[in-house]
């Protein structure tokens, strides 16, 4: 069984614990074990990145060094962490001076960055370690093709390509193919690769909201009945914005994290996937399963 260190970041454990739980459950079903990286720190996100580029690299550098110590690669599920850790790795692998500076800080805890640990996002594990065929095989209750879903990848999952190495930032399709393997239909919508607006929340909540709602309207315009995400931040934002405006409750489009959706088709029970914690009830999606194969 392949094993990774799971670095869930700071947002999901508090605001979206169901993402963490469904990730663990789904990967377990697919033969991948996650164990926790104890005593870690936040990656610093755009805040520390903007104020001190070196401190930003140091924060992720420590996370990478912790993983190295236990000889494991790191699995992330958040776009911001994905960016921070991959950026830090790139800097530390290519900037000798900076590596010396960060290592002198890590030395106090007997840690060292050598570049041995890799960083992969959940989607990469599903693509590279598991593969579409195995995902298909794990399905016990496929969705009905009449269920139409839209995907939102998250900017910091795909850009910049040189660091992220996940999918074409202008036309990402990996997650779309995975969802098709679960039986559902995936629809393309205008401005699919646009940002959810989340990063603007602290500076201009009103504008952040409008950017998110534009996305919802674009999904609605092509008949999307649900949005599937692969970043905790985006997921929270795309659900949250649907409560700010004057959307009627029946007009809200459910937002699910990819492992939640997969877990439903894999027959994992709803409590384990934390479906009742979703802000917008995913009931219509759960009800779109085909009859159980016997």
């Amino acid at each position: 069984m392949k094993e990774y260190f799971y670095y869930p970041g700071c947002t999901s454990p508090v605001r979206l614990p169901q993402y963490e739980a469904s990730t663990i459950a789904v990967l377990d079903k697919l033969g991948i074990k996650l164990s926790y990286l104890h005593n870690a720190n936040c990656c610093g996100a755009q805040y520390v990145e903007s104020l001190s580029p070196n401190a930003f690299v140091a924060m992720s550098g420590r996370i990478l060094a912790l993983a190295e110590k236990f000889e494991k690669d790191i699995c992330v599920t958040c776009g911001a962490c994905n960016h921070s850790l991959k950026h830090a790795k790139h800097e530390l692998d290519n900037n000798k001076e900076l590596r010396i500076e960060i290592n002198s800080l890590l030395k106090e805890e007997d840690l060292e960055y050598t570049g041995a640990a890799k960083v992969v996002h959940l989607i990469q594990i599903l693509r590279d370690d598991v593969g579409i065929e195995k995902i298909k095989d794990a399905v016990v209750r496929p969705f009905d093709p009449s269920l139409v879903l839209a995907t939102h990848y998250g900017c910091h999952l795909t850009r910049p390509w040189e660091l992220a190495q996940i999918d074409d930032p202008e036309n990402p399709m990996i997650m779309d193919h995975m969802i098709e393997a679960l039986g559902a239909t995936v629809v393309q919508y205008p401005e699919k690769t646009r940002c959810c607006g989340g990063p603007l929340l602290a500076m201009d909540p009103e504008a952040s909201n409008r950017i998110g709602l534009e996305k919802i309207e674009n999904v609605r315009s092509v008949g999307g009945q649900g949005i599937v995400t692969a970043c905790g931040f985006c997921d929270i934002q795309l659900a949250q914005v649907q409560f700010g405006g004057d959307l009627k409750s029946e007009d809200r489009i459910p937002v699910l994290q990819l492992p939640q959706l997969m877990g439903i088709a894999f027959g994992i029970d709803e409590e384990t996937l934390g479906l009742d914690l979703n802000k917008i009830s995913p009931e219509p999606i759960i009800n779109a399963l085909q009859e159980v194969k016997c």
Binding site: C42, V48, S50, C195, L200, D204, I211, E271
Partner: protein, 164 residues
């Protein structure tokens, strides 16, 4: 990309171009594709990445460094993918932010978030309530999140003296 570079015309543009990441300012031809593609520009009238770069090119140092505008960029990098000249407004604005920090201008939202992260070791200590702990318990997840703040506090004294 082997595009022709132009020489900066203002001392502010030269200053930006001399800092790693900022050299992209020499590639910008002011075509406006970034503004046309930017999600923030589509909802905030005063925010236009092309215009912000223009302000740098013509040397409006004070206006740029003492304004919230460079901090409205979401770093989504959509414009960077679409810029035909291979320039990255994100990298340019990152350099602008670093200079603004040196001049003592940091928007409150950034200051607060950074302070929280460095003091607590993570972002959401205050938001982690008993209710959420219960949700985690029900999901069979560890309730002790075990964040480390010693390291981030050390970073605070090394990199942020007099900054936040």
């Amino acid at each position: 990309m082997s595009k022709e570079l132009h020489s900066p015309t203002s001392s502010f543009a030269m200053e930006i171009a001399s800092i790693p990441g900022g050299e992209d300012i020499r590639k910008c031809i002011q075509c406006g594709i970034c503004s046309a593609t930017c999600s923030v520009a589509s909802v905030v009238d005063k925010y236009r990445p092309r215009k912000l770069i223009q302000k740098i090119l013509i040397g409006e140092r004070n206006e740029v460094l003492k304004d919230d505008l460079p901090w409205l960029c979401m770093m989504c990098r959509t414009c960077e993918d679409r810029c035909q000249e291979g320039a990255s407004p994100v990298d340019i604005f990152h350099v602008v932010r670093q200079l603004a920090v040196k001049e003592g201008y940091i928007p409150d939202a950034f200051k607060q978030a950074t302070k929280t992260v460095l003091l607590d070791g993570w972002m959401l200590e205050d938001a982690y309530s008993d209710f959420i702990e219960e949700d985690r318990e029900n999901l069979n997840l560890d309730t002790n999140l075990e964040w480390n703040e010693e390291f981030t506090r050390r970073l605070m004294s090394k990199y942020f003296k007099g900054v936040i």
